[in-house]
């Protein structure tokens, strides 16, 4: 089904991605991530000593502070903080530095659709920049289902408002195995985090998952290239 999107993209096409790391000099790690016009800045400070009152002291703790572009902090910001915290807790290896807190501050620079996935991607890149040990990277993507049933990826704000349902999906990044035979005998690829609201059929959701997984492979490749490039640059500078 051919779909006309306003900026001329096809259904499964993502907006141009750009990522730069180590842009803030005081933070232990920082990254700026932009998908089209949506731009998010993430900074990581840590690990710092001590955990908060109700947290388990045998593990590291992650604290997320979300700063919106304008306005006061309200319920949507608290929800984003909670989602980011839980997603990053499942990605980081928490047993390496017990009884410490790592703070991640997310600043929204511009919101043009798919804000939460951009923030998750930015936070992961900032954690890589800070050198926090992680099991794998989290790759986040936003899918929307329109009233007529077609699914588009990575919507802009205007497209988001017209859609019937949207899903934020986070996958672990794709694995490039060094061994020639796949060490991947898993049945299906797992998802880490999925949020969908508004009424759709259950089948639509699984269709979104398929599209999302395919796109996450492309995103993982982008991340891999980006991380490899910057590491070779810094070795030259030294």
């Amino acid at each position: 089904m051919e779909v006309d999107r306003e900026d001329g993209r096809s259904q499964n096409q993502l907006r141009p991605l750009a990522c730069s790391r180590n842009i803030l000099h005081r933070a232990h790690g920082s990254a700026s991530w932009s998908q089209g016009d949506t731009k998010v800045l993430a900074a990581v400070y840590g690990p710092k000593a001590g955990t908060k009152k109700n947290e388990n002291p045998e593990k590291a703790c992650i604290e997320v502070i979300w700063k919106p572009k304008t306005g006061q902090i309200g319920k949507p910001e608290k929800e984003y903080e909670m989602i980011l915290k839980r997603t990053l807790e499942s990605v980081c290896i928490l047993t390496v530095n017990p009884n410490t807190t790592t703070s991640i501050i997310v600043q929204v620079v511009n919101d043009d659709g798919a804000l939460l996935p951009s923030a998750i991607n930015a936070a992961c890149m900032a954690l890589v920049d800070a050198g926090i040990p992680m099991k794998h990277l989290a790759v986040a993507i936003c899918c929307c289902v329109a009233k007529s049933g077609y699914v588009i990826l990575d919507p802009t704000k205007l497209e988001e408002q017209k859609m019937k349902a949207f899903a934020y999906l986070v996958f672990p990044n794709s694995v490039h195995s060094v061994l020639p035979e796949g060490s991947l005998r898993v049945e299906g690829e797992p998802i880490e985090n999925g949020i969908i609201t508004s009424v759709t059929h259950v089948d639509d959701y699984f269709y979104c998952l398929e599209r999302g997984r395919a796109a996450s492979v492309k995103l993982s490749d982008f991340l891999r290239r980006n991380l490899q490039q910057q590491s070779t640059d810094s070795s030259k500078a030294g």
């Binding site: 109700n54 309200g74 319920k75 949507p76 608290k78 929800e79 909670m82 989602i83 915290k85 839980r86 997603t87 990053l88 807790e89 499942s90 899903a167 986070v170 672990p172 898993v186 049945e187 299906g188 690829e189 797992p190 998802i191 880490e192 985090n193 999925g194 949020i195 969908i196 609201t197 508004s198 009424v199 759709t200 059929h201 259950v202 639509d204 959701y205 699984f206 998952l209």
Partner: protein
């Protein structure tokens, strides 16, 4: 509730309650191995659910919902307001969720609970996007007056599955809601008519009417632990096993919302399908309980 003595570890030397507090994961592992939970529920069963409508007499609609020990009180108050210019013939619903210190030892006065704004936002997203209430029904005089429904949900006892109980109490309160009789007075303002039949003024709506609910959403929270799926967790289970999945289906089994905020267990498609299947069963149970509650009220 004895622990198997065959294993030679601490379980034989420590009392059951102490073992439960000190090694919660191992305590649960022993139970899950036998496909049962410490409160003798099978893994896929939710706790006992009750609904009482009309719990707050002065509110226009109210309900008290209990799932196991988790208790939520929902109350709706209606107020007349001028609708916005973009939607002149639609009313408005404002949803707020409170966790007062009575509900749990973690919540202290002065410092709002961490989970409260998240549940509040989830609730308002679910109720507004499920299309349960047609906002045009809340309109009185197009462009001039419409109803604003303030839905407040108070958590009285927080023992896990807060979102489920809150959604159930909200839905029950809306099904109990009766829109009061109002009439237009000489200044063009809407006033509440005290009695029906008192008539120098023409009432805008003739009698207290109930609101029409279509596609009512029901939810089930599950906890994923290794390859076990536990439906309707208690607070203890939620704190030990941190991967929580909430599925909201409406009465025609369409997916309204699926919420899985992170968590150590990665969910494969099969796990999600199992959660959705468990939720489908739960929707049927909840529909029956809600209908019994409503018919119980009407008998009075």
């Amino acid at each position: 509730m004895g622990l198997p003595n065959a294993s030679g570890d601490l379980s034989t030397e420590v009392e059951v309650d102490a073992f439960r507090r000190l090694f919660p994961l191992r305590f649960y592992k022993k139970h899950l191995f036998e496909s049962i939970r410490p409160d003798a529920r099978p893994l896929g069963r939710a706790r006992e659910t009750t609904i009482a409508l009309g719990a707050v007499a002065s509110a226009n609609g109210s309900a008290l919902a209990k799932i196991g020990s988790t208790t939520m009180l929902a109350a709706i108050k209606m107020e007349v307001m001028t609708p916005s210019l973009e939607t002149p013939d639609e009313g408005c619903i404002a949803i707020d969720f409170h966790m007062p210190p009575i509900c749990s030892p973690i919540v202290r006065p002065g410092r709002p609970a961490e989970g409260a704004p998240v549940v509040a936002k989830q609730l308002s997203d679910t109720i507004l996007s499920s299309g349960m209430i047609n906002l045009k029904e809340l309109s009185l005089v197009s462009g001039k007056a419409a109803w604003m429904a303030y839905l407040d949900i108070y958590c009285l006892d927080a023992d896990g599955a807060l979102f489920d109980t809150a959604l159930l109490s909200a839905v029950a309160a809306f099904s109990h809601l009766e829109i009061p009789v109002v009439s237009l007075n000489d200044d063009g303002k809407i006033v509440l008519s005290e009695e029906q039949g008192l008539s120098d003024r023409e009432p805008v709506n003739k009698e207290k009417r109930k609101i029409n609910l279509s596609s009512v959403p029901f939810s089930l929270t599950c906890v994923l632990h290794k390859n076990y799926i536990l439906a309707d967790p208690t607070a203890e289970e939620e704190s030990i096993m941190d991967t929580i999945v909430t599925v909201v289906l409406d009465s025609s089994s369409q997916l309204v919302s699926l919420h899985k905020p992170g968590g150590t267990v990665l969910a494969y498609t099969s796990a999600i399908q199992d959660c959705i299947a468990l939720t489908r069963q739960r929707v049927k149970e909840l529909q029956k309980i809600l209908e019994e509650g409503i018919s119980g009220m009407e008998v009075d």
